[in-house]
């Protein structure tokens, strides 16, 4: 049985021949498309390492069957920066040391981008709550919270400027 799906990943259309309906969106991104920035920490929705944006919303891509997202618009960590210019959340993570080993980081950053878009990053307590689906075993949480807060402020200021 060969199925085929098409995804728009980071603005680029991808037709993915799937020989197997069991493949998750995470494994399709990593093993078939070759976008390995998105990480697998648990494969069962418990850690957030695999967080990507699907149609603008953050999801655990390990819990998503690829076939059920045919036609979706997916943003991964590889799609955030504009050329050499980091997304404000990425820049803030570097500046605030919001990571150590970096393994949870793509998921943290995608989750933060999603959280800011949800309007849930307005104060540190909301950030901590809203980021608690993303485990960091290195426990870079103080840096993560600071980074999200910092990025949210920068992005809000940018928005005001352009409005």
């Amino acid at each position: 049985m060969t199925l085929s799906i098409s995804l728009t990943v980071n603005g680029e259309r991808r037709d993915v021949p799937l020989e197997d309906p069991r493949a998750t969106l995470l494994d399709v991104l990593r093993e078939r498309i070759g976008l390995t920035g998105t990480k697998k920490g648990c494969d069962r929705g418990q850690c957030g390492a695999c967080t990507v944006l699907v149609d603008g919303r953050r999801i655990n891509s390990c819990l998503a069957l690829a076939v059920s997202h045919d036609g979706a618009e997916v943003t991964t960590i590889e799609g955030l920066a504009q050329g050499d210019e980091l997304h404000p959340v990425q820049a803030a993570f570097v500046e605030c040391d919001g990571f150590q080993c970096g393994y949870c980081t793509p998921g943290q950053i995608m989750s933060a981008v999603g959280l800011i878009a949800e309007g849930g990053a307005d104060d540190p307590e909301h950030i901590r709550e809203g980021m608690s689906g993303n485990i960091c075993r290195c426990a870079a949480y103080p840096g993560i919270t600071a980074a999200v807060q910092d990025a949210q402020k920068r992005m809000a200021a940018e928005e005001r400027k352009s409005a």
Binding site: T105, N134, A140
Partner: protein, 749 residues
């Protein structure tokens, strides 16, 4: 080649890089997804391996439905003890002090739940996963022996890595009898699992008798030799690449069975193979922290000075190998006492073998010691901090040696000030927050040895005024890519952006082990020495060259600064590296260096990092839910190479302390031996909302003995004072003394 720098020459002034809070040099790669971890490698023709884990904890595998697995579309091969290619070493033997006995399908015996019993290799991960399920093993099962009561007790010959299981200074029994006050404290700690966010992973490819492996590893060159030995090939035939580890915490330092299985699978199929552990497979073959049951007995005299510390710990290990959490040894070096006794027992159970997990021994042992100290302070009617200051160790209690440096007093003072410790009521149950929650303040002393191991490094100064420095170091998040590069740049006297730092693969000089909180000190010393060696060679050329502005300056007369050699007697006269090389007609110049401790200093001094941790907890008066609302840690660890990264390490360590105190607990079903909570939903680690306020203060400390750089280490210390501080804060809020970790709500009711 200079050995390590001459430490008696006094404190070496490093250049412009060390001490700067530089952002991580690997930061952009990590925030853009470009950093490649082992499982991100996808060589052409890649196959996926999934192993089936034993569903029993003890017995034999009697059948596997290999046919069903092989018949599944996409499955290429099934590897069992029947067809597993040979190994050159017996995996049931211990080949050196840093090698564990491992499971590599040597036979049908099952020694713990989750042990690999067969490997399915397929064209896709999905097919391999399904194939492994189809194996449907049957067993001849024997009853599992789990826990202190179910296992077999014995006296361990060593604790930790080759440590002494007993230590005695003075007569503990006599001291106890003479003491004015005696307090005995019993503490139990559970099995804990490292749970690095990156599950153990490996991609293996053979090319004839050459092997290339991508796998996260904390001791790259040593591991290369280990893998080579198992396959009977020379170490040079193995290339091990480990540029980034997604966390290690001790679990990626020692070779584990699944790594060998992947390499064997690649051999069997003749194709590259990737094997990544599922999260539930992280609760078996890749080590854990053994459970402990500890008793700490403290005695004091009429002035509340310690007369004795007696610490006994029993720890769990596996039925077939040994790693004993050296918890009782953690009492040997913290508080002044004339009499000391530490001893260990062990219990064999049907689990995987434990291993070093962040602060092995210190984390568990200091948790018990700090609770014991708090109870003694209570009995003395003293403030816990005052009691600790009264029993401050001016020399190392175990050896009687002077410390190489110890700025703990300052840590206590600065930490207490920042936390606002003054005015803390002595009695428990006196404080509430504005929501009526019970509030408590506790503290603990953090302490960790400052070891050095062995490392080598190479430095190459180039004609264009840049340099390349390399060592096979390991960055598991502690920041080696950055901190080692800073030291390397200072070694060659260049700004960090003029230095290319190479690390993380086995063809580089041996960077030693990233463990024991000694990597920066060891690999850093090697890099600094290599840089100095290259600069010294350059200086020799320049000073003999009549065309050089530094001609005639003697050896001590020039200093390397920002890519130039500057005459110290006349700073207006200097020569650039590029010019020196150009005049000499050289395209580059190489230096080599070693990092290791000066044996005379090691013999003469006790070397430790220290800190003080202060914790506030808030406890719901009805539900007894515990929140750690504030943590302040003040730490002195010699020269801090990068304060930004060091603070992250120490914050992370303290948050591990939160996990230890409140969350982490590996539970095995006593009937089946299987992990009950073997995933991240069941095995809790702190999440962001668990740690609202964590703060590290770095206290200045100069150390002239640990190494010429004055560097100790910060990787593990943060956990050591924190667990006790939280437990003591819980007592201060509720009046209930903690007897086991994690602290369950039920213990407070």
């Amino acid at each position: 080649m200079p050995d390590t720098l001459n430490p008696t020459a006094g404190h070496v002034k490093l250049g412009s890089n060390s001490g700067q809070p530089m952002s991580r040099r690997d930061g952009i790669a990590k925030v853009t997804g470009a950093a490649t971890y082992a499982a991100d490698n996808r060589p052409d023709g890649l196959l996926y391996a999934v192993y089936a884990g034993a569903g029993i904890a003890r017995g034999r595998v009697t059948s596997l439905n290999v046919g069903a697995a092989k018949a599944h579309p996409g499955v290429v091969e099934v590897m069992t003890p029947e067809n597993r290619p040979p190994l050159a070493l017996d995996p049931d033997e211990k080949h050196h002090f840093f090698a564990w006995r491992i499971e590599a399908l040597q036979n049908d015996t099952v020694r713990y739940a989750g042990q690999p019993i067969a490997v399915v290799i397929a064209e896709t991960l999905e097919a391999a996963t399904e194939g492994a399920r189809l194996l449907a093993p049957t067993y001849d099962e024997e009853p599992a022996r789990i826990g202190f009561d179910g296992g077999e007790a014995y006296d361990p010959p060593t604790v930790g890595i080759g440590g002494n299981p007993t230590f005695e200074k003075g007569d503990a029994e006599a001291a106890e009898a003479r003491s004015a006050k005696v307090v005995e404290t019993k503490i139990a700690t559970p099995m804990q699992y490292h749970n690095a966010m990156e599950p153990h992973a490996i991609v293996a490819q053979w090319d004839g008798d050459k092997l290339t492996i991508d796998t996260p590893n904390q001791a790259i060159v040593m591991a290369r030799g280990g893998f080579a030995a198992y396959f009977g090939i020379p170490p040079e035939n193995v290339t091990l690449r480990s540029p980034f580890l997604g966390g290690g915490f001790g679990s990626k330092a020692i070779l584990v069975g699944p790594q060998l299985l992947c390499i064997l699978a690649a051999k069997l199929t003749g194709r590259p193979v990737k094997l990544t552990l599922r999260r539930d497979q992280m609760y078996g073959p890749v080590q854990h922290r053994g459970a402990t049951r500890q008793t700490v007995t403290l005695g004091t005299d009429g002035d509340n000075r310690l007369t004795m510390i007696k610490h006994h710990s029993v720890a769990t290990t596996s039925s077939f190998d040994e790693f004993i959490e050296g918890a009782a040894n953690a009492s040997q070096n913290t508080y002044a006492t004339p009499v000391l006794k530490s001893s260990h027992g062990a219990v064999r159970q049907d689990t995987g073998t434990p291993g070093p997990m962040r602060a092995p021994g210190e984390a568990t042992g200091s948790a018990a010691l700090e609770v014991a100290m708090d109870r003694m302070a209570e009995k003395a009617g003293m403030d816990p901090l005052e009691f600790r200051l009264l029993n401050y160790a001016e020399t190392d209690p175990a050896s009687g040696k002077e410390y190489s440096s110890k700025n703990l007093r300052e840590c206590y003072a600065e930490g207490a000030k920042r936390f606002g410790w003054a005015g803390r009521p002595l009695a428990p149950g006196m404080m509430k927050d504005e929501h009526g929650r019970l509030k408590g303040w506790g503290m603990g002393t953090a302490m960790f040895p400052a070891p050095m191991f062995q490392a080598q490094a190479r430095a190459v100064l180039k004609a264009d005024g840049t340099a390349v420095l390399e060592t096979a170091g390991a960055d598991m998040g502690q920041g080696a890519w950055t901190a080692l590069a800073q030291i390397a740049a200072d070694g060659v006297g260049l700004p960090a952006d003029k230095v290319e730092f190479l690390s993380g693969t086995s063809d580089q000089p041996d960077g030693g082990v990233a463990g024991g909180s000694g990597h920066t000190a060891t690999a850093g010393s090697a890099l600094f020495a290599a840089g100095s060696d290259a600069v010294a060679k350059l200086a020799e050329i320049a000073m003999k060259d009549p065309d050089s502005p530094v001609f005639g300056a003697d050896n001590a007369g020039v200093e390397a600064r920002e890519g130039r050699l500057v005459r110290l007697d006349d700073e207006s006269r200097s020569d650039s590296y590029a010019d020196i090389l150009a005049r000499a007609g050289l395209s580059e110049i190489e230096g080599n260096g070693t990092g290791a401790r000066n044996p005379a200093d090691a013999e003469a001094r006790a070397m430790f990092s220290h800190g003080a941790v202060f914790a506030e907890v808030l406890i719901d008066p009805d539900l007894y839910q515990i929140r750690v609302s504030r943590l302040v840690g003040a730490f002195a660890a010699g020269r801090i190479i990068n304060p930004k990264l060091a603070a992250s390490q120490l914050n992370g360590g303290m948050i591990w302390g939160v996990g230890f105190a409140l969350h982490e607990e590996g539970i095995h079903d006593p009937r089946t031996g299987r992990p009950v909570n073997g995933d991240l939903a069941g095995y809790h680690v702190p999440v962001n909302a668990d740690v609202p306020c964590v703060e590290t203060l770095l206290i200045d400390e100069e150390d002239h003995f640990v190494n010429a750089l004055g560097v100790k280490g910060v990787g593990e210390m943060g956990i050591s004072g924190t667990v006790g501080a939280i437990a003591n804060a819980v007592w201060h809020a509720t009046g209930k003394r903690v007897t086991s970790f994690p602290i369950h709500i039920s213990a407070l009711l």
